[in-house]
């Protein structure tokens, strides 16, 4: 094989690279513009930096043109994302988030697809107070967004609690190790004293990242087979825990996954991570760091839509990247160990863990914790948090586990679950229990169509067909995103909808139920009527023609409804 020269793609750096370089390690002019009383927004350059601090400036798009006419600036507000590695939070932390949501945000909490909390609708004047309260509860928003390693995901699977605890510790170590070291965050939000003079030498303040951080966001997730709830192959680095004799032997390492693409641009595509080897638990932090530095050095800094690690891997070649990794490590990865994934969804309801503790997995539609008129979900969880002695775990499917409930506490928690009617989802179809939606309208600036607000209504209609065809308990994954960037890992769902315009979606079919195969474009730019028409035929055929135990995603390929996608590079073929 010809030696591939290791270098980043040519081309002038993108504007974001300039902003990062000139930012003095993420400071920019944030301290001043956050204080400007004439606008509830901040300038674009500072908003780019704000992401590294875990927050985006957004606006309520429902009123955007209306306010423009009224000569008012957009209804600017901030989204604040809290980094919770592995999605673990204490009851005290839950109560803080609950209070902040009601005091400064829009009265709701969003549990994200990456096991983080999101607050929406925080006004500029309240951002600092919110940040301080979050940090006061020993959580952080630093690097929850931006061109850095994001929240490290980790399976919260309560079936194997002893392994989970160990895997979670590694997730936390990786997360902490890859946090930016800049003091900017503490100066701006926590009123820490400024470090006298910004370091002059590049890299001094950021030994791993350097002054321009990464070319693009970077995602790491750890799965514990047989559950692939974190969608391990959608990650830049996917780690597959290998459990042998009930003990954590180490991790298979997969690299180069990512969901995002741009409509109409076939040089962009979703890709699945590929396994390149195995490492022992105590090697995993080093492996993650070295892989990330390859992307730091050779990723595309010219075109942001081609800047994810997956393009770097596909450009340089998997083998080349592996060789470079082993060169940087100074040692070779082990042979990948066998593993098997069964599903990506959550198992709902009560399960018993080790040491006599119990876990309750609660179905949270769209990951939105709020009080509905007839369902006081937010209040119920607040009451539980007040008495709970274990912890909460946010799952990758936007659900919530009330974890580590002692046998003594269980009756009390059960009573509250009953009092507030908190649901394990059993009253819904298996389809709805396996649904994911990103936030989209009205707050997300990228959304072209509805997702979180619309999917439940669409599901109401699909469920009628599900019932007609006797598929109520058949698990099928369905996901909807407002744009092709894929916050809800859309192309890994057996039925996926990606927003193109208000009311219009691209429909993808044929992804694997266990998250090991991408879906394929089936219909372009269709509205609800066509969506329902297509599904009516597809679900009816599936009910009649499927093989025993055959999943929907496999079925549509076998009967030739869509072609199988074998690699992201043939996604558009």
């Amino acid at each position: 094989m010809a030696k591939v020269e290791l270098k980043a793609p040519e081309g002038p750096p993108s504007d974001v690279e300039r902003i990062k370089r000139e930012s003095r390690y993420l400071r920019g002019t944030l301290a001043e513009t956050m204080e400007d009383p004439l606008s509830a927004g901040i300038p674009d350059d500072d908003n780019r930096l704000m992401k590294f601090h875990g927050s985006y400036l957004q606006d309520d798009r429902d009123v955007r043109t209306e306010r423009q006419k009224q000569k008012l600036e957009p209804a600017y507000q901030f989204m604040i994302r809290v980094r919770t590695p592995g999605g673990v939070a204490t009851p005290e932390q839950w109560l803080v988030m609950d209070e902040l949501a009601r005091k400064y945000a829009n009265g709701t909490l969003k549990l994200t697809t990456r096991q983080a909390f999101q607050l929406h609708g925080v006004l500029k004047w309240n951002v600092k107070k919110t940040m301080q309260a979050i940090n006061g509860a020993l959580m952080t928003t630093l690097a929850a967004c931006g061109d850095v390693n994001r929240n490290v995901m980790c399976n919260p699977n309560p079936y194997q609690s002893e392994v989970h605890a160990e895997v979670y510790e590694w997730a936390k170590l990786i997360s902490d190790h890859l946090l930016p070291r800049t003091r900017a965050y503490y100066e701006i939000w926590l009123d820490d004293e400024k470090v006298a003079g910004t370091p002059q030498v590049d890299g001094e303040e950021e030994p791993i990242y350097g002054p321009t951080y990464l070319p693009r966001k970077f995602k790491i997730g750890i799965a514990v087979p047989p559950s692939n709830d974190v969608d391990v192959f959608s990650q830049d680095i996917g780690l597959i825990a290998i459990v042998e004799d009930g003990k954590l032997a180490g991790f298979n390492v997969a690299i180069g996954g990512g969901m995002g693409m741009t409509h109409g641009d076939k040089t962009t595509y979703p890709q699945l991570a590929k396994v390149i080897g195995f490492c022992k638990p105590d090697q995993v932090v080093e492996v993650a760091e070295k892989i990330m530095t390859i992307q730091r050095d050779y990723g595309n800094r010219s075109s942001r839509k081609h800047a994810r690690f997956k393009y770097t891997v596909d450009r340089l070649g998997l083998e080349t990247v592996k060789e470079e990794l082993e060169r940087r490590l100074g040692w070779k990865l082990g042979e990948a160990r066998p593993y098997h994934f069964e599903h990506t969804g959550d198992r709902y309801g009560w399960v018993e863990g080790v040491n006599g503790t119990w876990h309750f997995t609660l179905f949270v539609e769209g990951g939105r914790v709020k009080d509905y008129d007839d369902y006081k979900l937010m209040t119920g969880l607040r009451e539980i948090a007040k008495v709970h002695t274990g912890d909460f775990r946010l799952t990758a499917n936007q659900n919530l586990i009330i974890a580590n409930v002692t046998s003594e506490k269980k009756p009390e928690i059960e009573a509250l679950i009953a009092e507030y009617g908190l649901t394990d989802g059993r009253r819904y179809t298996a389809l709805r229990r396996n649904a994911l939606a990103c936030v989209a309208l009205p707050t997300c600036g990228l959304a072209m169509a509805e997702a979180e607000r619309y999917l439940p209504k669409l599901l109401d209609k699909i469920e009628e067909m599900i019932d007609e065809n006797g598929l109520r308990d058949d698990e099928i994954t369905i996901r909807m995103t407002g744009c092709p960037n894929g916050c809800a890992r859309h192309v890994l769902a057996e039925i996926a909808f990606v927003g193109k315009a208000v009311g219009k979606y691209n429909m993808y079919l044929g992804a694997a139920f266990n998250g090991t195969r991408l879906g394929k474009l089936y219909r372009e730019n269709i509205g609800e009527e066509e969506i329902l028409r297509e599904l009516r035929v597809l679900l009816s055929r599936y009910a009649k023609e499927r093989l025993d135990g055959e999943h929907f995603g496999d079925f549509v390929i076998r009967v030739g409804i869509v072609k199988e996608v074998t690699d992201g590079t043939n996604f558009h073929d």
Binding site: P37, L38, S39, A40, V63, R64, T65, E66, R67, Q68, K69, Q70, K71, L72, E73, A75, L123, W125, H263, G264, D265, M448, K500, A501, V502, G503, K504, E524, N525
Partner: protein, 609 residues
């Protein structure tokens, strides 16, 4: 409204003719006619007004100025527009590249060469930052663009049904308005680079060709003669108000606000009316028809009964008289006294009896005609008797919020809708709720200009100005800023504004931000009283900036205060004195003398109400 013998001074024959003609007239024709008739009456010849001279052979050369407007959702159109701007500059053109949102539509009349780069969003919609310009261009207010040449680059995505629709719309509309398409529109798909480059080459080629030809010979575009237009001399006045067409009527307060502040834009075209920033506009409103109905029902009158409304014997239906000609929302001592002989109700007789003035005043407060009619029946009065004692509908005056230099032929107003509960009934400000609830775009309002010589920008454009105008008090300062921008004045300016909530009540926010960015407005301080635990008002912001503020005064700044008289103006006045006392190291008396001296020099002007 159909003319009748009963509601007009014409004969039956005249009415038949008029009723045949009037419905066929366009609003513009009606306007012209009203101006013409008014002017004719004043014995001013208007029909033969000379057509503007045509400068054959001497029309001005084609300008090298090119305006590039973009409407962009994802940034591609912006990028292409900027690229076009750069390429134009390299070829010696003066290119101005602006987002459609930042472009002032009234500038369009001045643009000679326009390039439009616009994407289509969703299902054929304009991108967010193009919406307002798109709507303006497609509205009745869009100006004639006979002087304009243009070319459109449309971005889109063929996977959508309405491919490049917004670009197509602009292209079509610009032509409809009289513009000349000097290079055909190009529609680009998602891979726009090549097609866009071709368009740019074509545009540059055309423009360069013209520029070269122009350098030696006659201009390419012939001067388009404005249609001969009758310019009636202003004969409109308070007595003869001009029916101004409503061009825009929007609520400036965002969703969830406690307030409703209307922004009205009226056309003065053909009226000959002129005003200066600082002047006021008078409006003759109509009463709330629901209130009129309640009065008529209360008295069991026939709404169609004819009544005489003035000394000249003009007649109207009772309903029309109560709606348009008389004040029914204010109860005065005089009115109660005039009502008293028409009722035998002893309570009323007692109230108006000598010695009960205080009680009378107390009763009248917060009540209206309907209250009195309800409280003091039974009435022994024909409708005409009641009508005859009512006060003529007075006009309401509003500080003008625009400048003719920026908006020729228009006048803008900022009107706070007044609604409050009193004695168990919702009361509404006559004119403000008339404008807020019943006036639509296309309707006309009877208006006149009320000059205010005591509230004027300094003659010297370099003089610094300090403007204090919370709430609707900010209106004249919008006019000031427009004027200073349009005339290129260089003096510093400082605005203090306040209202209840930042998110919903920051009147004209985007305009102030744009003026701050361009430097027309030097600085601005805001106070939103209900966003913080402690209520903050403009005077608190003045105190916080006392040192700088005194510095401006010493530099000769003129201070303007507009708005609420009872509280705001008084507090601001006290604060001004305190600031001068503190920062000038003066005694209270000296500070007061300082302010008096400012007043004498016309450096402290107030328009308070």
């Amino acid at each position: 409204m159909q003319l009748q013998v009963t509601n007009s001074p014409f004969t039956e024959e005249q009415i038949a003719l008029l009723n045949r003609l009037l419905p066929t007239l366009t609003p513009a024709q009606k306007l012209w006619l009203s101006g013409y008739l008014a002017a004719a009456e004043a014995a001013v010849a208007v029909l033969d007004a000379e057509a503007p001279a045509l400068f054959a052979g001497s029309s001005k050369p084609v300008s090298k100025e090119v305006t590039v407007l973009y409407g962009s959702q994802t940034g591609n159109a912006q990028k292409l527009a900027e690229k076009a701007g750069k390429a134009l500059k390299e070829r010696g053109f003066e290119a101005k590249v602006l987002s459609m949102l930042d472009f002032k539509p009234n500038e369009l009349k001045k643009v000679e060469t326009l390039l439009v780069v616009v994407s289509t969003h969703g299902e054929g919609d304009p991108p967010d930052n193009a919406v307002s310009f798109y709507e303006f261009l497609h509205s009745k207010r869009a100006p004639k663009l006979n002087h304009l040449r243009f070319s459109v680059l449309a971005l889109g995505d063929t996977s959508y049904e309405q491919f490049c629709q917004t670009g197509k719309d602009f292209d079509k509309r610009l032509e409809e308005l009289g513009g000349t398409r000097f290079y055909p529109r190009v529609d680009c798909d998602v891979d726009y680079e090549e097609a866009a480059a071709k368009w740019l080459d074509g545009v540059l080629g055309e423009l360069s060709k013209e520029a070269n030809a122009n350098a030696g010979a006659a201009p390419l575009l012939s001067a388009v003669a404005a249609a001969p237009k009758a310019e009636p001399v202003a004969v409109y006045s308070r007595k003869n108000p001009f029916p101004a067409e409503v061009l825009e009527n929007i609520n400036l307060n965002g969703r969830g606000s406690n307030k409703e502040t209307r922004h009205l834009e009226l056309s003065l075209e053909g009226s000959g009316l002129k005003y200066e920033p600082g002047d006021a506009l008078g409006i003759f409103p109509k009463n709330d028809p629901e209130l009129v109905d309640l009065v008529i029902q209360e008295m069991k009158w026939n709404p169609e009964e004819t009544v005489t409304i003035d000394k000249d014997g003009e007649v109207r239906s009772l309903k029309e008289a109560l709606t348009s000609h008389f004040e029914i929302t204010v109860l005065t001592k005089a009115l109660l006294q005039k009502l008293a002989p028409l009722s035998k109700n002893s309570a009323l007789q007692e109230l108006v009896a000598p010695g009960n003035e205080a009680k009378l005043k107390e009763y009248a407060k917060g009540r209206d005609l309907l209250d009195a009619l309800r409280d003091f029946g039974p009435w022994d009065a024909a409708p005409q008797q009641i009508i005859s004692i009512l006060r003529k509908m007075p006009p309401r005056l509003y500080s003008i919020a625009s400048s003719l230099a920026a908006y020729p032929d228009e006048v803008h107003l900022t009107i706070g809708a007044v609604r409050y509960e009193s004695h168990g009934r919702l009361r509404k400000g006559v004119c403000s709720t008339f404008c807020a609830e019943r006036i639509q775009i296309g309707d006309t309002l009877p208006v006149f200009v009320q000059p205010n010589p005591n509230f004027k920008l300094p003659k010297d454009p370099d003089t610094p100005i300090i403007m204090i105008g919370p709430g609707t008090g900010v209106a004249p300062f919008r006019a000031f800023m427009q004027e200073r921008e349009a005339t290129g004045a260089n003096g510093k300016s400082w605005l203090f504004f306040g209202d209840q909530h930042f998110m919903t009540d920051f009147l004209y926010q985007t305009e102030w931000l744009a003026w701050l960015k361009s430097g027309v407005l030097t600085r601005m301080d805001v106070a939103f009283s209900r966003d913080t635990e402690r209520k903050v008002y403009v005077q608190h912001r003045m105190q916080e900036r006392s040192k700088e503020l005194f510095g401006w005064l010493e530099e000769g700044a003129v201070v303007y205060v507009c708005g609420d008289k009872q509280h705001m103006a008084r507090d601001v006045h006290q604060t001004l004195i305190e600031i001068i006392e503190k920062e000038g190291g003066m005694s209270r008396e000296q500070a007061e003398a300082y302010v008096t001296e400012m007043q004498k020099q016309k450096r402290y002007q107030r328009d308070v109400y």
